[in-house]
Amino acid sequence: MSGIADTVLSLDRLSVRLPKGADRSHALSEVSLSIASNEILCVVGESGSGKSMMANAIMRLLPNDVAIDGGHMMFEGRDLCAATPTEMRAVRGAGIAMIFQEPMTALNPLRTIGDQIGEMFSIHTDLSKADITTKVLALLTDVRIPDPNAAAKAYPHELSGGQRQRAMIAMALALDPKLLIADEPTTALDVTTQAQILKLIRDLQQRRKTAVLFITHDFGVVADIADRVVVMQHGVIVEQGSAASVLNAPEHAYTKQLIAAVPPLTAPPPRKLSDETILTIAGVSKTYRTGGFLGRGARVTEAVKNVSLRLPKGATLGIVGESGSGKSTLARCIVRLIDPDTGAIVLSGKDWATMSRENVRRETRHIQMVFQDPFASLNPRRKAAELVAQGPIVHGAPRAKAIAEAKELFALVGLDPSAGDRFPHEFSGGQRQRIGLARALALKPDVLVADEPVSALDVSVQAQVLKLLADLRQRLGLSIVFITHDLRVAAQICDLVAVMKDGEIVEHGLTGKVFGDPRHPYTQALLASIPGGAFAREHAAATG
């Protein structure tokens, strides 16, 4: 695909040392790869594989106690490992530019977008003010931001996530860099926005013949965008090759495992649903009012609008939607962490929506919640067994008995029962999510509300936790409300799905039906935006 002549950057046995006491001695060990102009090289790996560390090493922006301790990085005929800080400053931005995962934190909140993009020119060139303004507008037009004039004058918080990422891309491309490093640029974005940004990066790359080093954890994104692929595990490159060969004929066991863990889009064969309804949500609304003095200038946000749903006993109901669609607010209304304004939530004959706080506290063991963030949802100062035993203790179980039961639950969710004496930070992300699940199950709930329970996990861990959830619902006869933004995850585990947009349910029904034959244009758009959709379908057809 590319000759040696137009190689833009080559890494030759690059090693990066971690400080003593880290989980391994090197973040990167003898990494060799090259990127040619006019190609997109995707670096794929799970968290901790060293892929972001590689991007920072190329920019020579490593933390103080981490250092390059071997190898070379050749860029435009010189070794970046040996470049002085002054030389590196000239390379950064002009020669190699970078875009980050979270555009909100990468942009200065106190300065306008136009100002920040213009800074690239005022640092690296001697253009006049007027020239800079024209160039900034041209760039913003180039990244297809709606109304470039207004965007240039806007502050970062005034733009949407997708627009901010477009502004970041404009900034990165300002000086026509030879190489663009994109570190998970679409991970924080909604799926429809992600599809647009991926298309934009591809278009710009083809027009400008830039080399792009694209870092991602998502094989769907790889399938959409990559020319060549590098797969990393524990700081070592385990496989590299053209996108087609790596995706369709992976050689290394780890690559195979990662690709197998990509959730297929097709729903598994439908399970038989019970006629008995366990949870009925009828006309639930929640409106937020913020700011304003005596009603003037107040902002009203209708987070949930007149939502009605029915959860059959033993079934799993998926609520899917993008950020801001109100799905998390709905989940919190169901467990009464938030009080709904109107409507009824009926669980085994009792209306939850209007129950007093004291009654909710007493009845709460019938409905339990699993949270999104396995790091934030466990009290860091309590031991794992204590965390799981807390619920029964609150509801009057003797402490020793509750702790003994907690150990049994550990086995149930696939944890070592003897691990109960350890603190949350001593567990991995997937293990912590299992603790969270055990805590919710300790009260033997009838309904489990799971709010994005696998979103913070790597794909391979995600697959394990989903398998555990499917297994538990079979064994314990659990009814589950499953909130997720990821349609691939929803397709795997849910019997029924409801698609939410701006607080309303736009479509709901059996998973196979909604995903196989979507009626609402929004559902169709969501399904079309899933990264690597075509690949996932082929992959599903090939394997099963």
Binding site: L337, S377, Q390, R439
Partner: protein, 276 residues
């Protein structure tokens, strides 16, 4: 365990701890080394330090042994510092926890009260309290504690505000915990480290406040305290400056020790903030 290891890795923190232990040792050994009443007349007045082996640090204007007063004064300073700090932190945590956890009207009321206390200069308020309630050791200790609580209250409130909406607190609520269980069992242990560190600042200030009161001869005159000794030395400051200087150094060393220990605790409990 890790926190203890990190603490002993810092030379300044270890030095502070050693100094503090010396002051504590002085307080404990005062009765053994100087069995007589430290406020009893012991010899000629105004003997210079190191000139008479019986009075190593000399005598004050009324002929009382300065060394004995320094040793007994350590007791008073530590007692007032410790108790006043305990009072201030306790009130502070209670006010801050309720204000931060409940928010809204409760927060508004409690914070306005806190601000009312903060707008008055500490020392003026202390003078008023002592003037009204008298200057016994008990009233002075309580008064110093009562004027020192607003800062810990605000600190605790800030911690509670950031912690109360964390997922683990929500998880506790879905498990059916009562508010008081959430406040004491879930949030407080996580909010405590910065408050403990701040306690060292409160303690240092409490010791200084008591000394300042004594310097104005408004502290309890019937106990041997460092502040009282400085106050006495005021009359002979130009010639026999050592009467004020020696207890002054004792106060300096104690406050320094407490501050160093506080800084060490801060670095040990918040390792990520250290070394940028």
């Amino acid at each position: 365990m890790d926190a203890i290891k990190r603490y002993f890795r810092s030379p300044a923190a270890v030095a502070g701890l050693i100094l503090l232990l010396i002051v504590i040792a002085m307080a404990i050994s005062a009765g053994l080394l100087y069995p007589r009443d430290p406020l009893a007349l012991a010899g000629r007045p105004l003997i210079w330090p190191f000139s008479n082996p019986r009075f190593l640090l000399g005598t004050d204007n009324s002929g009382r042994d300065i060394a004995a007063q320094i040793f007994y004064g350590a007791r008073i300073s530590l007692l007032i510092g410790g108790l006043a700090t305990a009072i201030a932190i306790l009130i502070g945590i209670l006010v801050g926890a309720f204000a931060g956890y409940y928010g809204g009207t409760i927060d508004n009321i409690l914070m306005r009260i806190t601000e009312a206390f903060q707008t008055l200069p500490n020392f003026v308020l202390l003078l008023v309290l002592v003037a009204v309630f008298g200057s016994t050791l008990t009233t002075v200790t309580i008064a110093v504690g009562v004027v020192s609580w607003p800062a810990p209250a605000r600190l605790t409130r800030a911690e509670f505000l950031s912690l109360r909406n964390r997922e683990f607190v929500q998880a506790g609520r879905t498990l059916g915990m009562r508010d008081i269980q959430l406040i004491l069992g879930e949030i407080l242990p996580n909010a405590l480290p910065p408050v403990i560190v701040y306690a060292s600042v409160v303690m240092a200030v409490a010791i200084l406040l008591e000394s300042a009161l004594a310097f104005l001869r408004l502290s309890d005159p019937n106990v041997a305290s460092w502040g009282n000794l400085i106050g006495l030395g005021r009359d002979v400051l130009r010639v026999q400056w050592y009467v004020s200087a020696i207890p002054g150094i004792a106060i300096l060393v104690t406050v320094l020790a407490v501050s160093l220990v506080g800084q060490g605790l801060n670095d040990a409990l918040n390792p990520r903030l250290k070394g940028r």
